[in-house]
């Protein structure tokens, strides 16, 4: 046991300096999606909502609307799986964010405005 005491002392404290300093390893972690402004059409947003396995993405209800509207992004349901970015890489990238704490549930739900015209520039080949 004495040897383990000495080993512990010799090894010292091994920990990260976060939050006093930036967490270096965070840049390798998967992050929730970031949406390129103007690149998200209603058709692309519909595909993103269909591809999201955890229901974090859904179209805002708007009766009979073909263009415009909004995509609702619930950060609290996002598992950062990256399927949305794979579905439409021109419209979605990884945000790299990992400090996602909020003081109320509603803050985690973002409204992403969609583009007015229905030309699908975000579509992948």
């Amino acid at each position: 046991m004495t040897l383990w005491f000495v080993r512990g002392l010799r090894r010292g404290v091994v920990t990260t300096r976060y939050p006093a300093r930036p967490e270096e390893s965070a840049r390798f972690l998967p992050g929730p999606p970031a949406f390129r402004p103007g690149a998200l059409t209603r058709e692309t947003a519909g595909r993103l909502a269909g591809a999201c396995p955890s229901g974090a993405l859904r179209l805002a209800e708007s009766e009979g609307q073909a263009d415009g509207g909004a995509l609702l992004f619930d950060v609290g349901r996002c598992t950062a799986c990256g399927r949305c970015a794979a579905e439409a890489p021109q419209a979605v990238t990884s945000s790299g964010a990992f400090e996602l704490a909020a003081t109320s549930r509603s803050v985690l739900i973002k409204e992403i405005p969609l583009r007015g015209r229905n030309d699908d520039t975000g579509r992948t080949a």
Partner: protein
């Protein structure tokens, strides 16, 4: 093997050595006796109200003989021949099939609750059983000073929900039984109607500590069902992730062993190695627990070879330093030696897998089955570590040897070249079996695809679902209360893998 069996189809490319036989229900008992030289790897039913019983047998002989045999038996009524009396490994699945399909062994033996929580009207895969499970556990007599001590399902710190029924006379464990249904999520029910890529998302999360292995098994099953083969470089990328998964799991098991023996500095040393390995995972594949690496038809991500070459030696050195120091500590080794003993006969009879089986002397390792990247690249060069004592120390030593082998294999795969390519999955019907060697042992998946290429039945069988059935035997082997956490750490199983 019975000569009158009819081969209905062999595996297609991507599945390796799988042979499927149709067996009539009256012949099933005799066939199970004939196949008793093989390991009963899984048993499940499919096809809802007119169930087909499938038994998956593994040949662990090594080399070209390694592979799987599947028997398919349509069940006409609500009973099938008694199998667990011949193959004890079948009992847990007999209980599970009764819960999900309402069919049971003909002898009417008592069946236990395995998956579905009581008083919860959850959907099942077939017709519901006519009556509740009997809740009968291992036969024992509680008399004299012995009593049952309930422990769980809520346990210390962040450990998963699990209930032990401990029968004890005060110190020695007379008997132990488990309730494993507290976190049942109905995953196999949930997978119905999904495309294989969509189902993969759930398979990775069925048992997060085996995300690569279970994901690989499901992807391989879908690939076998559709007759495609992933690109070789993608197979190597999968294998790199699988070995990294083994490394961090074995480091976590070492930390748990230290915690269970009260060696907090050793636990910290192991957790330093664990954290370095998890950070290496993130750097190499973009996820600490390697989610998203496996894709149906290939690999979704390629490893950052430079990152692995730069960081793996240091992380493994940390692991090795902690392990060597632990093996030099008598008070630690004494707690492991002769604790939680499982004999080779017990391991064989219960169909155990992974380090638990190998620690008892069974050299079963699915990486030896022909057709995968291991055989193509490494040939016969995989060293399968085994031990004979069957105790906690034997399992720990097997894990340490496997970690060293994983480091060597990762280097070989990186040298051979890895990539993130995929082969497109055609929309076609079929059935397929897939497997991968998880840190806990053989992970299996079987899928049945409809004409649209969607899953009509998926079976997920993580190694945990296999090895928990050996846990009570290990605990009964003249152990005391305080040995149980040590035995559990050496098994390194998850409740999630059982209660999927």
């Amino acid at each position: 093997m019975r000569s009158d069996l009819v081969t209905t189809g062999a595996s297609r490319a991507g599945a390796g050595a799988v042979t499927t036989f149709q067996v009539a229900s009256p012949d099933l008992e005799a066939v199970v006796r004939d196949l008793s030289g093989l390991r009963l790897a899984d048993m499940f039913a499919s096809d809802g109200d007119a169930p087909t019983l499938r038994l998956v047998w593994a040949n662990d002989a090594g080399g070209r003989q390694s592979g799987y045999v599947i028997t398919e038996t349509p069940i006409g009524g609500d009973q099938y021949p008694e199998l667990s009396d011949i193959a004890p490994a079948a009992f847990v699945e007999e209980c599970e099939i009764y819960e999900q399909f309402g069919i049971r062994p003909a002898t009417g033996k008592p069946l236990n609750r395995i998956m579905l929580p009581p008083h919860a009207d959850l959907p099942t895969l077939g017709r519901k059983p006519t009556r509740e499970p009997d809740e009968v556990h291992a036969p024992h007599t509680v008399a004299g000073e012995a009593f049952e001590f309930p422990f769980g399902p809520v346990r210390q710190v962040g450990v998963e929900s699990l209930y032990y029924g401990l029968v004890t006379s005060g110190e020695e464990v007379v008997d132990l039984y488990l309730f494993t249904w507290h976190k049942h999520r109905g995953l196999e029910w949930r997978l119905r109607g999904l495309t294989p890529p969509r189902a993969l998302f759930f398979a990775e999360r069925a048992e997060g500590l085996s995300a690569v292995a279970l994901g690989w098994a499901l992807a391989a099953a879908a690939e076998a069902a559709t007759g495609i083969r992933p690109p070789v470089a993608a197979q190597r990328a999968r294998a790199v992730a699988l070995e990294l998964e083994r490394l961090y799991n074995h480091a976590a098991a070492m930390a748990a062993l230290c915690q269970s023996t009260g060696l907090s500095v050793g636990q910290s040393a192991a957790e330093i190695a664990l954290e370095r390995l998890l950070r290496l995972n993130a750097r190499a594949f973009g996820h600490r627990y390697l989610f998203g690496v496996i894709a149906v038809g290939g690999a979704g991500r390629a490893p950052d070879a430079d990152a692995i070459r730069a960081d793996l030696p240091g992380a493994y050195e940390e692991f090795k330093r902690a392990a060597d120091a632990l093996l030099d500590t008598n008070s630690f080794v004494d707690r492991l030696e002769a604790t939680g003993v499982l004999t080779i006969d017990q391991a064989r009879a219960l169909g155990l897998v992974g380090p638990v089986a190998r620690g008892s002397g069974l050299a079963a390792d699915t990486r030896l089955v022909p057709g995968g990247p291991y055989n193509a690249d490494i040939g016969t060069g995989i060293a399968v570590a085994t031990a004979s004592a069957g105790d906690v120390l034997a399992r720990f030593n097997v894990m340490l040897a496997e970690a060293a082998e994983s480091v060597r294999l990762i280097g070989q795969f990186l040298d051979a070249g890895t990539g993130a390519a995929t082969t497109d999955l055609p929309r076609t019907s079929g059935t397929g079996l897939g497997w991968a060697e998880s840190p806990r042992g053989e992970a299996l998946a079987w899928v049945q695809l409809d004409d649209d290429g969607r899953i009509s039945r998926a079976r997920l069988r993580p190694a945990s679902a296999r090895n928990w059935r050996g846990f009570d035997d290990a605990c009964r082997s003249q152990n005391v209360f305080t040995d149980i956490p040590i035995i559990e750490a050496s098994f390194w199983l998850t409740a999630a893998g059982m209660a999927r």
